[in-house]
């Protein structure tokens, strides 16, 4: 899906603000410096998603997700490669020997949910605040599995807003991708919101 340069720039800036605010909250929570790369944004069709984000349907991923309702209805998901997410949590809560594949630290999932919830809620609320779109998120959930299985439940005709960023926490680098699956009408609504936002800024320019 092609964004105009102005729309792409506006979306990037919104993503930048959302990601930066998340980084700040995470740094307070984890009591450590968090570095965040400049997020890359795109809007794609669900069929183009794996290629667009470089995650194959057969890849093992960890996912924190929250259902969205209101002006934007769909699902917000934060995706990490399973191996990377385990390393991240271990760096934060300590490492545990793995006995024949059974992870002893079940409460790792709670920590991932909290981290994911912060990123999702801050990024989504930044976007909805700046674009004036009222949206509610449901409780955060966690699951691991094949990427293909995770997005299977999405409609074939959905569009996806993608925000990809790398964060470094606790001296561990991990790259995560925020994908927001929405109906095409909602995507169009989002784009209109971007246009209105830009027009509003331009209109408010004071004559010199």
């Amino acid at each position: 899906m092609q964004l105009t340069p102005a729309q792409h720039d506006a979306l990037s800036e919104i993503a930048n603000i959302g990601a930066s605010r998340s980084a700040k909250q995470l740094s307070l929570l984890l009591d450590d410096e968090i570095q965040l790369s400049i997020p890359k944004v795109a809007i794609v069709m669900i069929s183009e998603l794996p290629e667009a984000i470089g995650i194959a349907v057969t890849d093992d991923v960890a996912c924190v997700y929250q259902d969205m309702s209101g002006c934007l209805t769909g699902k917000a998901r934060l995706i990490f490669h399973t191996h990377e997410s385990r390393l991240l949590v271990q760096a934060l809560v300590g490492s545990v020997p793995v006995l024949s594949g059974i992870s002893m630290q079940i409460y790792e999932h709670e920590a991932m949910k909290e981290i994911g919830n912060i990123i999702i809620s801050v990024c989504i609320s930044t976007m909805t605040d700046m674009l004036g779109k009222e949206t509610r998120l449901a409780i955060p959930m966690y699951r691991e599995g094949l990427f293909g299985e995770i997005i299977e439940e999405d409609s074939r005709h959905a569009g996806v807003l993608v925000m990809k960023a790398a964060l470094t926490a606790g001296r561990r680098g991990i790259s995560g991708i925020l994908i927001v699956t929405l109906s095409i009408p909602d995507i169009m609504g989002l784009l209109m919101g971007l246009d209105n936002f830009l027009a509003g800024c331009a209109g408010q320019q004071e004559p010199e």
């Binding site: 720039d9 603000i17 959302g18 740094s27 968090i34 965040l36 800024c201 408010q204």
Partner: protein, 123 residues
């Protein structure tokens, strides 16, 4: 009377647009824009701004690095960091590099007013 100028350096056109939109109408400052290290250095040398507002998170050099380059080039201005990432490490970095203020994104008229007041007090 010499016109006072603000130079905003941010790679995002949207961010610069928003800043311009929130700059109060009765402000004595004129706003100029730059989107990278090179254009920033060029503009700063020619227009000699009172205030340089720099985005932190930019591809290439960060806002702090650009400020350092400007100081080195002898550009005398008050530097203000512009970011949504107000972690302690970032604030410390800004203070160490000589920034007089850090303002948060997304910017509002109030934030800009407070910042200009603070900058005014520095002179």
């Amino acid at each position: 009377m010499q016109q006072k100028t603000i130079l905003i350096v941010d790679d995002s056109a949207t961010s610069r647009l928003l800043f311009r939109a929130r700059l109060p109408g009765n402000s004595p400052y004129v706003l100029h824009e730059a989107d990278s290290l090179d254009s920033a250095m060029e503009k700063a040398a020619s227009i000699r701004p009172e205030v340089v507002v720099l985005d932190y998170n930019m591809p290439g050099q960060s806002g702090v690095e650009i400020a350092r380059a400007m100081l080195k080039a002898g550009i005398k201005a008050r530097f203000v960091l512009f970011t949504a990432n107000t972690q302690k490490s970032v604030l410390d970095e800004a203070a160490a590099a000589g920034f007089v203020a850090v303002i948060e994104k997304p910017v509002t008229s109030e934030i800009i007013n407070d910042m200009l007041e603070k900058v005014g007090q520095c002179n």
